[in-house]
Amino acid sequence: MRVALIGPPNCGKSTLFNQVAGYKAETGNFHGTTVTFTESRVRVAGEIIELVDLPGTYTLEGGSPAEEEAARYLASHDVDVIISVVDATHLAAGLELTLELLPLKKPLLLALNMMDEAVYAGLRIDGQGLSQRLGIPVLPVVASKGRGVKRLFLKCLELGRNGQVEGERYAGEIQEMAVRHAFARELVQIHVKQGERRYTWRDRLDDVLLHPIWGYVVLSVVLFLFFQMVYGIGKLIEPPLLALFELLMPVVVVLFSEGTILSEVVLGGIQGIAAGAAIVLPYLFPFLFGLGFLEDIGYLPRIAFLMDALMHRIGLHGKAIVPFILGYGCNVPAVMSTRTLEEPRDRYLAAMLATLVPCAARLVVVFGLVAFYLGPFAALGLYLFNMLVIAVTGRTLSNMMPEDTPGFIMEVPPYRMPTWRNMLSKSWFRMREFIVEAWPLLIVGSMILAVLDYFNLTFLLNSMLRPITWIMGLPAETGVALIFGIFRKELSLVMLGQALGTMNFDAVLTSTQMLVYATFVMFYMPCLATLAVLKRELGMKAMLVIAGLTVIIALTSSLLMGGIAAIL
């Protein structure tokens, strides 16, 4: 028996699915986290049900990919029972879709999800009346707590066994969207008694979190704690992890004769694996987990609301704040997250700007060079300078790409208690993308580096980059470190030490040179993994344009930084 779950975005479909099927669907308190459908086999009362989670949709006739997907699926596959999931607190929207499903003549169930929230909101829903009017069973559930889920699926099994549409279905005129909308509203008026719409705790919380002043104070504190948490956990896990690889390397090298190209390549590969492990496990996972928490609790849309005005100045809107926050961790998930933006222009611009955000690896360079030798305030200044450059770039680019979009429209959902299950499965989903897309490139890149190193091609690289390093007033030896930085950003510090022959940088570089070098590293060329993701998300041409632009921006801003440093 095949059962399909359908409902508007954010109605708790995926939560219901996960409750029954385990950890498979990605859920979130944000729009459209399920882009393709997930299928799972479940055993209910001795019978096997194939449960399908369709992408969230308000209608089957809209033009978006998610809607087309859902409509195609219901039309093409042999679906035995359809469960229409609605958020009881937003009944009208869900009912519209339910009305659209009536003419399909398939066994249909209406699941009123989030009944607990409806009760809190003072809504009294007459399920029986609704059921009689529509001619389909109506069942209350609280998917997040598993309440009513069993009853729902037993009923579902019963309907599926009969295979027939039981009772008299509502047969009024419901072809037109506008008619359905009006009818759904009428149904809500009749069957839902609105107790006092009280000033709820949600309003009280929003009064603070969306406040013109306190909202931003809280936002700063939340983001500060967020990054503290990520780097705190990262610092705890990274050293022992790297130590483990240090132990491993000599063991592996012994297997090959030392000093040959083969052993160098193998070593390079292990270094790539180690670098990936040192980024993925300690930093990326807490980062994605924390973001998942902010998303599920409902804070992310509120950040978007608060930041919309600022983002407008750089030609984007509030939703595009997510790639920027992510960018400080790693540019790869940042570029991936631009998928949530609807307009191609916004995706392009946000991806471009997100690659300018200094990720954790570039933080290593800024801290190791600027903060260590010139003090924390110089590093802070560099970060502020980075934001300024991003703002100017965004402004300039958005003027070149005029906005023809209707602008910012975003649902602000109620606050919800996140579940461990959802947050873990979502973090895993996103991390898997990094592991599959970026990690292999890190490993291959490290191997190529080993070959370059083995054949001593550094001289060639240095002279190739001499025009750039000369303009910036940097020693020629920095060229090779910059090339290596394209493979992995933190290498632009590690290799700098190797190229200059000392890790004691203030002996070989002036403070201006350090600032100029750090500035250039902050902006130039996304790393190999980010380039790969840019190509996949936006195409080859966009990737090349973005890469070229970052070099221009890097040159201009580091020359500017050199000027500023000379004046100070």
Binding site: Y58, T59, G62, G63, S64, T89, H90, L91, A92, A93, A121, M177, A178, H181, R185, V188, D206, L210, P212, P301, A304, F305, L306, D308, A309, L310, H312, H317, G318, P406, G407, F408, I409, M410, E411, V412, P413, P414
Partner: protein, 111 residues
């Protein structure tokens, strides 16, 4: 047709139709009042959506906002930020550019 504009508040249209000369005096203040957009609605007030450009209508419908619906302006973000409105039990943030394109009529003042 002649259009005589005396001030920002009054305009006079003169036109011939069926050999009859018509003279129409328009009080622009009345027209403007009827053509309020969502940005003009004070926080806490309700209004009814009257007209929206077709392309935008499709986008709004996805968030449960239809022409004829009653919306309440809940908040306004500072510094040119978006509006937060409530309609049909859902809360939606609308950028100012969007809000300006949504025309509304304000309901009885008691709301």
């Amino acid at each position: 047709m002649f259009i005589l504009s005396f001030s920002s508040e009054f305009t006079i249209f003169i036109f011939d139709q069926n050999d009859v000369r018509h003279l129409v005096v328009c009080d622009l203040r009345v027209i403007k009042q009827n053509m309020m957009n969502l940005m003009d609605v004070p926080v806490g007030q309700s209004a009814r959506l009257t007209s929206v450009a077709a392309l935008l209508q499709v986008k709004l419908r996805k968030h449960g906002l239809h022409v004829g619906d009653r919306v309440r302006v809940l908040r306004q973000a500072p510094l040119g930020g978006p509006l937060l409105v409530e309609a049909n039990g859902r809360e939606v943030a609308l950028g100012r550019g969007v809000a300006k394109k949504i025309f509304v009529e304000v309901e009885c003042a008691s709301h």
